[in-house]
């Protein structure tokens, strides 16, 4: 019991330290600003992947629509930045100065009402958390209360991703359409496009990432996390034990949505624009793939999985512009066929058992393996 009371056990603390070393020391020292900014972009997906570990890995709720929440967070941020970039002075060439350029192209002559509050940074930050949480709550409540789960839930989330994309593309006067919201420049007067800003934003993002890791670990270690795992394994038993399964599922789905939205908002800051191509079905599935490659049961695995897949994507596409998609496809098939628990599973089964005796001493390691349980994330046989 003692082991479980602590937030991180010893090997997890080491994993955390290793991740901190990698993200805070090795990468910033070893990469130029351009590559570091790419890492920053990849890490924004890691937020989504951590959310999926909770919701899919622990709770067994496969959502193929996380792009929706990534997009909602990203669009909230983009709306604020776009309004700041569309000052009257910057847009005097337009027929209606002072509104975003794409509205002017679409013959809008005044700012739509729902854009108005995004002049305020405070409102924007609240919205980044609240909008996706409320949306996830509505979707979750509508489906889980009716005991819609499994494949049907996955299909519905996918449909929502498709609907939102069509909505954004179709309402281009209000959303920027397929071009998205581009040319974002400053945050409260601070130019986010300079190399120095990218450097600072990277560290801000890593800080958020660690906060997210701690929050996710807290959920997993709590009684709530155990109920989630129990639900994944035998939903009916949990229900008959008197728990409201639907409420727990809604909670897991909401928290995954909020994580994704934070990632989306940071993405907008890092990359400088937001477009419907992050909202749709394909990016949503890609995000699930990152989690699967890294290992859906492991928070750290999901982070590494995201980094590795995206690195592979960038370097394949730089080296083989014509063939890279095939290479990437082959990688996914290989990983899923050979290591169903992803890289984290590989680590846990082969590397960790050899590492533990060295780090913990033989007897402690034996005790630890004996006490391993389903709740630690291992799949029940």
């Amino acid at each position: 019991m003692n082991e479980n009371a602590r937030l991180f056990d010893r090997s997890e603390l080491m994993a955390l330290a290793a991740l901190a070393l990698l993200l805070l020391v090795i990468l910033p020292l070893g990469l130029d600003v351009f590559r570091l900014n790419l890492v920053a972009k990849y890490l924004t997906y890691a937020f989504v992947a951590i959310g999926l570990v909770l919701c899919w890995g622990c709770g067994g709720i496969l959502s193929l629509g996380q792009g929706v929440f990534f997009g909602l967070g990203g669009y909230c941020m983009a709306m604020f930045l776009k309004l700041e970039a569309s000052s009257v002075a910057n847009t005097k060439i337009q027929s209606t100065p002072g509104i975003p350029d794409f509205m002017d192209w679409n013959q809008l002559t005044q700012l739509p009402f729902f854009w108005q509050p995004f002049h305020s940074l405070t409102f924007t930050i609240v919205a980044i958390f609240a909008v996706p949480a409320i949306f996830a709550f509505i979707v979750g409540a509508a489906l889980f209360k009716r005991q819609v789960g499994g494949v049907y839930f996955a299909i519905i989330t996918q449909a929502i991703a498709a609907i939102l994309t069509i909505l954004i593309v179709g309402q281009q006067g209000y959303t920027g359409g397929i071009n998205g919201i581009t040319d974002l420049r400053t945050l409260k007067g601070w130019d986010i496009r300079t190399d120095q800003a990218k450097f600072i934003l990277y560290f801000v993002e890593v800080a958020f990432l660690f906060a997210t890791v701690v929050a996710a670990q807290f959920v997993r270690r709590s009684k709530l996390g155990r109920i989630l795992v129990a639900m994944r394994e035998k939903e009916d038993r949990v229900r008959f034990s008197g728990y409201s399964v639907a409420n727990f599922k809604i909670f897991a789905f909401c928290i995954a949505a909020v994580f994704a939205a934070v990632g989306g908002a940071l993405f907008t800051l890092e990359v400088g624009f937001m477009s419907p191509s992050f909202v749709g079905i394909v990016p949503s599935i890609e995000m699930v793939i990152y989690t699967a490659v890294g290992g859906r049961l492991s928070i750290f695995g999901a982070i590494y999985g995201t980094l590795i897949v995206n690195f592979a994507k960038t370097s394949f596409s730089e080296s083989f512009p014509q063939l890279w998609l095939f290479g990437l496809g082959a990688l996914f098939i290989a990983v899923v066929l050979a290591f169903p628990n992803g890289l984290a599973g590989l680590w846990r089964d082969y590397v960790q058992p050899r590492l533990d005796p060295l780090l913990l001493g033989r007897s402690a390691a034996a005790a630890k393996w004996a006490g391993r349980s389903v709740a630690d994330g291992a799949a029940a046989e």
Binding site: F34, N37, V169, I178, T182, R185, V271, S275, S317, P321
Partner: protein
């Protein structure tokens, strides 16, 4: 010549067989017969490159940034091919300021953020002296801030909606008014058209183009728009609009439908019994490339308003088409954008040589007034606003997928990306 002989020495103990050596030596005199363009006259790198671009004494690096995967690959491949052809031809003539052009190709993967990432890579990591690339407006909008921030130079080939002008972009395609107004004037005069039905895919280019078309039809031609409709990208069900067209009987169907939707649209039009030899249809979005997918028999008789058709009869174009087919195969077709992409490397070369520098600021300043007499479309010149002066032409689709050019403007049409009275 002596240092060329020296290059045999490093083989040392692995001396080549006597026969090979002899053959090699026999080939040496031939080397001196190769055209030796102005390498000696090449100005020193320190003079022509003061901002740290990827320029050496013998080479200059440019980027090619198009989608070779994803939905846009089918459209953008032609542009990549044309740019590579132009680069090869320029190198054969001795390169730019005595330097061979080397290119780095990146894949935008039909994904706008990827375009931005790759653009940044080409500018920041590879220090490309120029980038030929992008196709859709969305990809251009995504990379534009990158080019402005890192001070790069983009040669953008596609006809587009206008409303944009940047120091860091040369637009080698037409902006909207160049493609629309002359065509509407022609159809109104030649066909006596009084009523128009406007159609388009639902994004910024068709919408802006139709806005300009409507203003011209109503305010200048004093005729009427009887309908205007938009369809999502990839839409394939056009029956309801075709029924409306049958009911309203417009003199002209003005169609700006893009990509795969075209195939469904023209097939359904034909199936519904609308005969394009009787019903006038004018499009600004179907080039020879698209007809390849639509099938010539489905669109024969339609009119297209472009600045270039593969069938243009002039010596430049004949040489261009022959060289293109030699490099990429007999079956390839060349559309308007492909030709515009071919202009990019050439205009860049001419501008660099005019400025006698690779520096972005200098070529941006030197661009206005640069003339390219060897353009397949005929003479073009860069305007102060970084767009091209070019002619507008109307072609009529033949069943074999080519266009007969039936009209061209007498003079070059001035580019006007922010047209007064059309916004």
């Amino acid at each position: 010549m002596s240092d060329r002989n020296d290059s045999y020495k490093p083989w040392g103990p692995l001396a080549p067989s006597r026969r090979k050596l002899l053959a090699g030596m026999a080939a040496l005199p031939a080397l001196s017969m190769l055209p030796r363009p102005s390498f000696a006259a090449a100005p020193p790198t320190s003079v022509v490159n003061t901002t740290g671009l990827a320029v050496t004494d013998s080479e200059v690096t440019v980027g090619i940034l198009h989608s070779v995967t994803g939905t846009m690959a089918i459209s953008e491949t032609g542009s990549v091919e044309a740019e590579k052809l132009a680069i090869e031809q320029i190198n054969a003539e001795g390169g730019v300021l005595g330097r061979k052009i080397k290119f780095i190709q990146e894949d935008g993967a039909s994904d706008w953020p990827t375009f931005a990432e790759k653009a940044k890579k080409l500018l920041v990591n590879d220090k490309c002296a120029a980038v030929m690339g992008c196709w859709t407006s969305a990809s251009r909008k995504a990379v534009l801030p990158v080019f402005e921030q890192y001070n790069g130079m983009l040669y953008y080939p596609t006809f587009y909606e206008g409303l944009e002008q940047s120091k860091n972009v040369i637009y080698t395609g037409q902006e909207a008014t160049q493609q629309i107004i002359a065509g509407l004037d022609w159809v109104s005069k030649e066909k006596g058209a009084k009523t128009f039905y406007l159609l388009g895919s639902d994004y910024i280019w068709p919408r802006t183009s139709n806005k300009i078309a409507r203003k011209h039809i109503e305010n200048h031609l004093k005729t009427k728009v009887v309908g205007e409709e938009y369809f999502p990208l990839g839409h394939t069900q056009f029956n309801s609009v075709i029924n409306k067209i049958k009911l309203t009987k417009p003199d002209v169907i003005y169609a700006i439908i893009v990509g795969g939707s075209n195939v469904a649209f023209y097939k359904q039009l034909k199936a519904a019994g609308i005969d394009l030899s009787k019903q006038t249809l004018l499009t600004i979005s179907v080039t020879e490339d698209e007809i390849d997918g639509i099938g010539g028999e489905n669109i024969a008789g339609a009119y297209a308003c472009m600045k270039y058709f593969q069938s243009l009869d002039n010596p430049n174009n004949k040489a261009f088409v022959a060289a293109f087919k030699k490099m990429w195969g007999e079956k390839t077709v060349i559309g308007d954008v492909t030709q515009a992409a071919y202009l990019g490397p050439w205009l860049w070369k001419l501008t660099v040589e005019k400025a006698n520098s690779f520096d972005i600021d200098k070529i941006a300043a030197a661009s206005p007034g640069v003339e390219f007499k060897g353009a397949p479309e005929g003479y073009v010149r860069i305007h102060e606003n970084h767009h091209l002066w070019s002619k507008t032409r109307v072609g009529r689709a033949r069943p074999d997928g080519q266009y007969d050019v039936i009209y061209e403007t007498k003079d070059l049409v001035e580019p006007d990306p922010f047209p007064k009275g059309y916004q």
